[in-house]
Symmetry: C2
Amino acid sequence: MQVVVSAPAEVSERWRDGLAQAAPELDFVLWPEVADGDAEAIEAAVVWNAPPELYARCRHLKCICVLGAGTDQLFAPGIELPEVPIVRIVDPVMALRMASYVLAAILHFQRDFHDYVRQQRERVWRKHRSRDSHRVRVGVMGLGAMGRASAKLLVTNGYDVAGWSRSPRRLPGVEGFAGEDGWPPFLARCDYLACLLPLTAETRGLLGVETFARLPEGAVVINAGRGAHLVEADLLAALDAGRLRGAVLDVFETEPLPPEHPFWDHPRILLTPHVASITNLETGVVQIAAALRTVRDGGVPVNLVDRARGY
Amino acid sequence: MQVVVSAPAEVSERWRDGLAQAAPELDFVLWPEVADGDAEAIEAAVVWNAPPELYARCRHLKCICVLGAGTDQLFAPGIELPEVPIVRIVDPVMALRMASYVLAAILHFQRDFHDYVRQQRERVWRKHRSRDSHRVRVGVMGLGAMGRASAKLLVTNGYDVAGWSRSPRRLPGVEGFAGEDGWPPFLARCDYLACLLPLTAETRGLLGVETFARLPEGAVVINAGRGAHLVEADLLAALDAGRLRGAVLDVFETEPLPPEHPFWDHPRILLTPHVASITNLETGVVQIAAALRTVRDGGVPVNLVDRARGY
């Protein structure tokens, strides 16, 4: 079976080589090194932000494997996706990475490191009294693999944790909220709000002025979902008005963040360059190789994306 | 029983009022508002960095209570301490505060926030690949209440944890090292080294060139013990030579840190103003009130300092 691999230039060869080692019986070619005549013979695609031309030219795909947990890139305008199974990576190592990022983001503000970094630059010795973890109310938006791992780690660290999801979910030690009815009471108890939702039509722009207005005064917003969850102008307004104390942002509408963007030098924002949960090549390769073999053998792979939900 | 309270100006009244509420049958007076004739009648002292004159003038003390966990201040030159029981605060809330500080300090470097803060200032979008927690080897120096709570929290968070103490201690999930023999193998496996030791003649200057030379290349040093544990010039040399990747420092030889000190603008140091584990007034008041009543009734209070060990 021929498989095309399309990924950002700096990692595409590593993925191709890793997959070739994990599944030497399959034939991997790098996009765009695919001659016109050969595209017809390709039966599977392994992609991260692949161009629309790939789907237009590889017309006999039986399966698409996404090199990560988020699959919103496939449902972007301009992409005509064939009606074939879509597989994503569901990796406990990546979920733990996300959980440790959320914890690091909370501690950065909880232990006042954001202020101490600035004070250090100004040679100011001034103590702040930080709140003990059991008095810090954290809310996790989205209880997929990433959200569940994060909520669990936060419970372990003694925080007062709530979770919000589209449909109800029970997690030990986590106060559960679901759907539209659960949204206002959930937000009202979030000193820290961490967005780990998939990006869909329903969740786009959810981190906006109405959400910020329902949070307790001085809350901190963490976005490690997708840039389009956040209404950037609303965040700036809420920070500048003092409604929000700070924000930790890992994802953006445009990545890399353009040099002229106002987030860069905002005193209440910590920026990270989409690193909260970098895809783990080792386990990713194993999962994708298994999915490709299943497809080759006529089976149905695991970790399928639900097209109706969009994730 | 008359009790003198001597603490930094900004907190002394809060302690006096808290103690008066917890033990209304005792008579609390603030130092230095003590007339010469009255000093003789004082039977107990509640102190944080009290001046030597207090001990010289209050000659009939039966007990000294220290407003914190560290008691090295009592054994400083110029202080002639009476031979009476010394009580310190041993508070699980303070131990958890310390543990959360150590975790925050590790995550600050592990998740590359130290670099991302600088990159943000320079508008640079560059990803770093952070090490997963289970591959991060952390060493805790000192396994008293603070060190044990920190080691336990780090184990819970999935780190590869070791502990070093003067005499052997067993903690679940923690590789134990003790004494002089245990020192070199302990240091050899510390990607992060957190000092939570008491300050004694033996531990003074322990964070120096010989210690740094035994750490793995690129280790991070966290000092939340006492400033005098660290040889400041040795740290600067090790950072500038690239032997150490960074340092998170909460305590200093001179506090507040003088404005001209080279730590302020060092690019590999995060400074915090002695806030890792701020004494908890609520539980401190309860413990001190109990100790004072025990002394008044002729008993021996708990949480006594061992003068021979110096802590």
